[in-house]
């Protein structure tokens, strides 16, 4: 087991030391000793973000965070699963629609775009069950200025639908400044939404 003594260090130094050790030595089990609660939580979260299962002990003024990655058990899986919300919608089905393209199907691009426009407009027939609309890859182009469905998407958003637009994708196409609707998001949010949804529809 690799031990790191990060006592006396303030954030973010303990996380950095842990990160460096993981990169250089790739230990299966690592123990980090810190002396304040903030560093303890940060180190614990860092290890968990890297797929480690963590255990916490307190010894006097010190916190011992032990992370192990070779015993990925159900316990770890459970800790990362979000509980369903207590909001009224939790009673209904929650449908997440993920668009990874700006047109439907292959073949004629013009037809594909027309179908996509029609699809997004017709989605409202799902009613309250439509819970998240996520745009990734080429799909983000539907959320920028000039998009044929911009007004429709704005209407959805006004009606309380949460629209998530992949930040990495916008950045890739250099469209960050041109996004007109929805919340710029990241993979963690998208994955969390998938977990919470009752149904995920992928286009």
């Amino acid at each position: 087991m690799k031990q790191i003594d990060a006592r006396g260090l303030a954030c973010p130094a303990p996380v950095l030391q842990t990160k460096a050790t993981l990169q250089e030595e790739k230990p299966n089990i690592v123990r980090v000793v810190v002396d304040n609660a903030a560093s303890q939580q940060n180190v614990q979260r860092f290890l968990e973000s890297r797929g480690f299962q963590t255990k916490l002990e307190q010894k006097g003024d010190d916190y011992l965070v032990t992370g192990s990655c070779d015993t990925a058990s159900e316990e770890q899986d459970q800790s990362s699963v979000e509980q369903p919300s207590a909001d009224p919608q939790s009673e209904a089905n929650r449908i997440m629609v993920m668009c990874a393209t700006d047109r439907i199907g292959f073949g004629d691009d013009e037809l594909g775009l027309a179908l996509m426009v029609n699809f997004l407009r017709t989605l409202k027939e799902m009613g309250d069950e439509l819970w998240r609309l996520v745009f990734v890859n080429n799909g983000v182009k539907l959320t920028i200025d000039g998009s044929e469905v911009l007004e429709d998407l704005r209407e959805y958003e006004k009606g309380g639908l949460k629209i998530l637009v992949c930040g990495t994708c916008l950045n890739h196409f250099n469209l960050l400044a041109r996004k007109q609707v929805g919340e710029t998001t990241n993979m963690l949010d998208i994955v969390t939404a998938m977990q919470l949804a009752d149904k995920v529809v992928s286009i």
Partner: protein
């Protein structure tokens, strides 16, 4: 401790607000505030700008117009080149010029660590002072800058923020709340504060305390620096965020759908954050539209003021 006061003190230490307000006449009151800190960015010129934007913000949050300022400087003369200090002060001066504020003095001392900030004086009509504690049932909350600067600054210290992200957050911290304050003055605003060290929920808690109201925050609508969520999940969270959460724990209820990282961003201590405005419900869309028209693209409606359960913040 007892602080003597008089009838012209409109806002004083008895109800801590963003700045003190003293009535000079029936139609004029002085706003006074002071703030200084150690560098938040490596570039001295930008540090100067951020410190000035931050100090001016308290006057804007009170509904006032800043007029004059004085520098506060602590400088390690023996260890640092004087040119560094010159750049810090130039940054402050340029930001003051942008705000239409004149520097009329200052004071410096020798210290082991660089510190810079300003004392700012502004004016306001005594009837138009915007205090924190005036939440009205049905009002909506608007935030004018995205959250996450504390987390990003921690990532910068850790050397893992990209140059583009560093640049983006630097500009964000240095941007004035002046335009937002100008626009806000045309609307029916009940209360206002600026989001700084206590984070969004900490400052909101100050507004809620003693109001008899509760607040719902729609966490999905809260503008934030997109990268902050991932950085928070990696444990790059300033210690202040944990303190902020702990201090207001009894007032804040997070719905289980609010991810841990999003919670962290909501309590992340901000440097020179945006204005948090409580505006009449029927005007909120117009206010947000006006802010966006003025180039404040991140402005968003983030919550509403509700009847009890008493003085709780519900984060959905």
């Amino acid at each position: 401790m007892m602080f003597p006061t008089d009838e012209n003190v409109l806002v004083g230490l008895d109800r801590a607000d963003d700045a003190g307000v003293y009535r000079i006449s029936d139609d004029l009151a002085l706003i006074q505030t002071v703030d200084f800190f150690t560098p938040v960015v490596d570039d001295p010129y930008w540090f100067g700008q951020i410190a000035a934007a931050n100090a001016l913000s308290d006057v804007y949050a009170m509904g006032g117009t800043p007029k004059t300022a004085m520098n506060l400087v602590a400088f390690p003369v023996k260890e640092m080149e004087l040119s560094v200090l010159r750049q810090v002060i130039q940054g402050g001066l340029d930001k003051l010029a942008e705000a239409g504020v004149v520097l009329i003095g200052g004071h410096s001392i020798e210290d082991r660590e660089l510190k810079y900030g300003l004392s700012v004086t502004g004016i306001v009509h005594p009837a138009k002072v915007l205090i924190k504690k005036n939440l009205r049932l049905g009002d909506r909350l608007v935030l004018t800058k995205p959250l996450g600067s504390g987390i990003v600054n921690t990532a910068i210290k850790a050397g893992i923020a990209s140059a583009e992200l560093t640049d983006r957050v630097t500009h964000l911290m240095a941007s004035l709340n002046r335009a937002a304050a100008d626009i806000m003055s045309n609307f029916d605003v009940g209360a206002c504060t600026d989001v700084t060290g206590f984070g969004l929920l900490g400052h909101l808690a100050e507004m809620v305390c003693g109001s008899g109201m509760s607040v719902r925050v729609f966490s999905g609508q809260v503008p934030l620096i997109a990268e902050a969520l991932e950085l928070a999940a990696m444990g790059l969270i300033p210690a202040g965020a944990y303190k902020n959460r702990e201090f207001r724990e009894s007032m804040i209820e997070f719905a289980e759908t609010v991810t841990r990282s999003r919670q962290d961003v909501l309590v992340d201590p901000q440097t020179s954050g945006g204005l948090l405005i409580s505006v009449a419900g029927h005007q909120v869309d117009k206010l947000v539209a006006a802010l966006k028209d003025a180039g404040i693209h991140d402005a968003a409606q983030i919550g509403k003021i509700c009847n009890g359960p008493q003085e709780k913040i519900w984060v959905l």
